[in-house]
Amino acid sequence: MDQNEQNFDQLRQLLKLKRHEVPPPGYFNRLPAEIISEIRAEQRAGRDSVSRLATEAPWLMRLWGALEAKPLFGGAFGAAVCALILGALYLTEKPAERPTPMPLNASMASPFTASSPTTIDAQGVGSPLLLAATNLNNVVGPSLFDQAPTLQTAPVSHSPGN
């Protein structure tokens, strides 16, 4: 290693130049004060947020105090929150129930097909309606279509070649 040290002597002399690089005058007199004031500012900010929380949500502070004082209670609370989150996740990921297709009964076999009374009101009786996947089993009373005028149909004579 001594031989290596000898080989690098000049380099080490050159590297001494870096020891002469100094920050602006007075820098090291100012630096501690800047750091301390930064620490004080952070402490103030921390205290402010805690005191604001204490005034705006005292129940949260009481809860926090209780959790801090009784670790068992804290653990149980944590487990309950986890269970809630897991339950919520399970419910949101469960596929929504598919609606049962609406049975077509005789009264709906006509070109006028209703989806719901509100749809009829909106679209009018005279226009063809689309079949919507709405369960009508709960609709009480006669449908408006029962009161709709029945269409008269007449046979059309058609002779090919005319």
Binding site: M1, D2, N4, E5, Q6, N7, F8, D9, Q10, L11, R12, Q13, L14, L15, K16, L17, K18, R19, H20, E21, V22, P23, P24, Y27, F28, L31, P32, A33, E34, I35, I36, E38, I39, R40, E42
Partner: protein, 218 residues
Amino acid sequence: MVDPEHTAPFPVFKTAANPSVTEPASTPEANDEPLLIDRARSGDLEAYDELIRRHQERIYGTVYHMTSNHEDANDLTQETFIKAFQALKSFKGGSSFYTWIYRIAVNKTINFLKLRKNRASMSLNDLDFNAENDPDLVALVSDKTPRRDAGLTELQEKLNEAMGKLSDVHRLVVTLHDVQGVPHEEIAQIMECNVGTVRSRLFYARQQLQGYLSDYLK
């Protein structure tokens, strides 16, 4: 050649601001450090101010030589001391305070350099007046340039450029050992590796630097 400062029973540092002064770590000042740490840990900012004053030059020096940028070094030094104050409760005294705080500074600096990577820019500090009278430096530049002052500034730029070409760990080991005079054993603690690794990294880094600066070395 064995450098006497690296065989001292206690770490000895030359401060960046005053390289002619050696500062043994076993002064009465160092003896009251545990007390200062205890006071700072309980929130006494005056005690922490004193700790900052004792270590700021070394920490700033390390970060500055790693980044070659005064503004970055200033920010990182401040962040290091703030982080250290916040983490003071976790300091158990297993290592010395300066090793602990060095480690914080080194980790912060290396993380910063990883992020900065391709937008490195130098903002070098001025050389102090002692540089012109340093016999080692005078010998290096007097043959090459008629104006010694200009020669030193040029040399400073080339040296920093060459340092910038080293990898972060190699630059760190050169900075700590050859610039700041930290012994191998302390560097091993700071870098959390063994002494052999420190020595081999130092050897490789010096070889690299010697190649980059061959025009400036006889």
